[in-house]
């Protein structure tokens, strides 16, 4: 169906997305830039309780007071012009485009990744949402029977304030960084999940299953609480490139694993190469609890993401498994934060990056073990693979271990696929690109195994696509 709205934006092109004019008949549009008025507008539209409205205003002040972290991070951040973005558009009013307007190369990629027809339209921004009602209804029933709450964050804070409020903004304080403050001021969308004591959710939960209007917002806010002894896996994103209309994404994800609980959070993201993806993710692991971040970052102009685990209780465990793929024009600045706050806590970081062409990958890691603790262990492995001579990687590990009753281990390597290896593979009949793809897939194979099956298959195909044209 072609609506008047479609006609108004037919001039959207891939190279000026995010720069289109929007018809005034939009019911909920906070306009350009972010100000106290923007925050009030969002709070009005979303019918926020007063505490959230105050939370947002305070966050905006913090956001404005904080400088860009360019003293340690890339200067490219200075190219973000906050006044040029829209911070809230209500769903249904989001820009839509027709299938014909989706660039050919994006369509081709969908085709070759074998993305189902219906899903392609959603990913291309043609449809606001992937209709997975059928798949969802079964999951929903099972979850309800177990007392699991799985709603969007707005619904969460309205309906379940007694669970939501004590933890919201507690794992990641608003003032953690400039972008967590921005998210706190204008957040909408994202998931709220509560898993009751002892419940082990057998299916991984995905935002796909949650039918709501804001599942892929720019400023998502996700809070997952796993009560004592419970287990949950959450999956976010997919390997297909998302054809984005807005170029600033700043999510905040907070995880709370109570005593003996286990949370695994799996992310595979493939952003279009004009996106700034500045994400804050952190979990708290109480006694005997475990938080695992399994993370794959592909695409984007700049991704800054350092999933963290605060091991607050004895014998808590934290893990980050991270894959980054940076092609020309892309910078993956990723890593992990491991904060040990109790005895006998264990953390593990395995990070692998692949830089192609002029792509750049950066590892930043923080490990903190204070002096008064004992029996803490950290293992950090960083391996970077450079495909071309113009590819780049940097490693910035910050390991602060005090006291002598701990074990830490840090290994880092930078390698290239050797010419002899390529010669060997090509002598068996593989083209140079196939040889390179196979080598790269081999490089990350041990980490890919950590991803759920459907993701790992897609990841392999995606790497094949990324490697095309990177050699020779």
């Amino acid at each position: 169906m072609v609506t008047a709205l479609d006609n108004d934006i037919t001039d959207i092109k891939a190279d000026n997305i995010g720069d289109f004019t929007f018809p005034e008949r939009n019911k909920f549009d906070a306009g350009f830039g972010v100000s106290p008025r923007t925050v009030d507008y969002i709070s009005d539209v979303k019918n926020d309780p007063d505490w959230i409205r105050e939370f947002r205003h305070k966050a905006l002040e913090i956001f404005n007071s904080k400088p860009m972290p360019t003293h340690w991070a890339t200067k490219d951040l200075d190219n973000i012009h906050f006044e040029e973005f829209r911070y809230y558009l209500s769903d249904g009013q989001k820009p839509k485009r027709s299938w014909d307007e989706v660039p050919e190369d994006v369509k081709r990629t969908f085709e070759r990744l074998g993305i189902p027809e219906q899903e392609r339209k959603f990913l291309a921004g043609v449809e606001a949402q992937y209709d997975s009602e059928a798949a969802y209804s079964n999951v929903k029933k099972v979850l309800e029977d177990q007392g699991v709450i799985f709603v969007n964050s707005t619904e969460g804070l309205h309906k379940y304030p007694e669970i939501f409020r004590p933890w919201f903004g507690k794992v990641i304080p608003t003032s953690d960084n400039k972008f967590s403050a921005l998210n706190s001021a204008v957040f909408s969308g994202g998931s709220f999940i509560y898993v009751p004591k002892g419940v082990k959710v057998s299916h991984p939960l995905q935002a796909y299953f949650r039918i709501n209007s804001e599942q892929f917002g720019q400023f998502e806010r996700t809070l997952i609480i796993a009560d004592e002894g419970s287990e949950i896996m959450y999956m976010e994103g997919c390997t297909a490139p998302k054809f984005e209309t807005s170029t600033l994404h700043s999510a905040v994800v907070e995880l709370v694993a109570m005593k003996g609980a286990k949370i695994q959070y799996v992310t595979v993201q493939n952003w279009s190469s004009n996106v700034f993806n500045l994400v804050t993710k952190r979990g708290i692991a109480h006694e005997d609890a475990e938080v695992r971040w399994i993370d794959c970052n592909i695409g984007s102009r700049l991704t800054m993401k350092y999933p963290g685990v605060i091991m607050k209780g004895k014998r808590a465990r934290g893990e980050v498994i991270s894959i980054a793929l940076a092609n020309s024009g892309q910078h993956q600045d990723t890593g992990a934060k491991m904060i040990h706050l109790a005895d006998d806590t264990t953390s593990n970081v395995v990070w692998k990056s692949i830089s192609i062409g002029e792509g750049r990958s950066t590892y930043r890691g923080q490990v903190h073990i204070p002096k008064h603790l004992k029996g803490c262990k950290n293992n950090t492995e960083c391996d970077a693979l450079l495909i071309n001579s113009s590819s780049r990687t940097d490693t910035y590990p910050a390991i602060s271990v005090k006291g002598n009753k701990h074990a830490t281990q840090h290994e880092a390597s930078v390698s290239q696929v050797s010419e002899d290896q390529i010669f060997y593979l090509m002598q068996r009949g593989l083209t140079e690109a196939e040889a390179m793809s196979l080598s790269v897939n081999g490089f990350i194979n041990d980490l890919v195994k950590e991803f759920p099956m459907e993701y790992s298959v897609e990841l392999k195909r995606l790497i094949d696509l990324e490697m095309e044209g990177s050699v020779g």
Binding site: S418, E419, D420, Q421, F423, Y424, L425, M426, Q427, R428, G429, L430, T431, E432, E434, A435, L438, S439, N441, G442, F443, I444, N445, D446
Partner: protein, 251 residues
């Protein structure tokens, strides 16, 4: 229909290594090339397979009538040329089975895939012939393999890819006698009217187990002497100096 090498001349930046080499391998024949260190034996295998370290300055190589010197390494391989490496490379994270599937798939028209059931049936048959444990299918290509295991793995690839012409570069080096017998059995199983072999070796020992039809002696980048399998025995007995004298005498 044969692998025809004519006047092949090749160099690395500051040194000529092949000096107008001539050799014709017909299907069904097993040729052995022997020669002292530095005679150009391994260079020949690399030049034929298209390694970029070497520049061909003169000569032609045709495989069943097709000029292969203009082809990339992979295209040469797909026309039916196989090289069993002296030092097989390790491919971390890529399982033997996946590697072989990828190599076989590369020979199919685009979009077609190999039949997995038939593939594994064939793979297991070949591995049994080479006395390789089934666990090798899941292990990364050559990673952590012993010298002998790597050489067996080369022959396994040869058996799976079924090339028209196979070059074996010092396949016997680093093998104990039992492993040598197993490898030789694999190669002998692949001998056929439609396949030609070129064995590059330093020692006569290999030729006790893989009997060649024709033996050549390579010196200073040229084939200086050609004979039957008794030539190898004579070399073993008398050494390469004898050839030098012989060649000088006839020159």
């Amino acid at each position: 229909m044969s692998l025809v090498i004519e006047n092949l001349t090749a160099q690395i930046p500051d040194r000529q290594i092949l000096n107008g080499l001539n050799l014709t391998i017909n299907p069904g024949e097993v040729h052995a090339i022997m020669g002292p260190n530095g005679s150009g034996k391994s260079t020949l295998s690399k030049v034929l397979s298209g390694h970029s370290d070497y520049e061909v300055t003169a000569g032609t190589v045709t495989l069943d009538g097709q000029n292969i010197l203009d082809l990339e390494v992979d295209a040469r391989a797909r026309t039916g040329l196989f090289l069993a490496f002296q030092y097989p490379h390790e491919i971390p994270g890529v399982s033997n089975a996946n590697f072989l599937r990828a190599a076989l798939k590369a020979r199919l028209p685009e979009g077609e895939d190999i039949d997995a059931v038939a593939f594994y049936k064939q793979l297991y048959t070949r591995m049994d012939q080479l006395e390789m444990d089934r666990s090798f299918t899941g292990r990364s290509v050559n990673e952590g393999f012993s010298g002998g295991e790597k050489k067996r793995n080369e022959i396994l690839q040869l058996m799976m890819l079924e090339p028209k012409y196979a070059i074996l570069d010092e396949t016997d080096s680093g093998l104990d006698i039992d492993a040598l017998k197993v490898v030789a059995r694999g190669v002998n199983a692949m001998r056929s009217e439609s396949r030609g072999f070129l064995l590059i070796t330093h020692y006569q020992r290999l030729l006790d187990y893989i009997q060649p039809d024709i033996v050549h002696v390579l010196m200073d980048g040229q084939i200086v002497l050609t004979g039957g399998k008794d030539l190898a025995l004579k070399l073993e007995e008398k050494g390469y100096d004898w050839v030098k004298d012989e060649v000088l005498a006839t020159a």
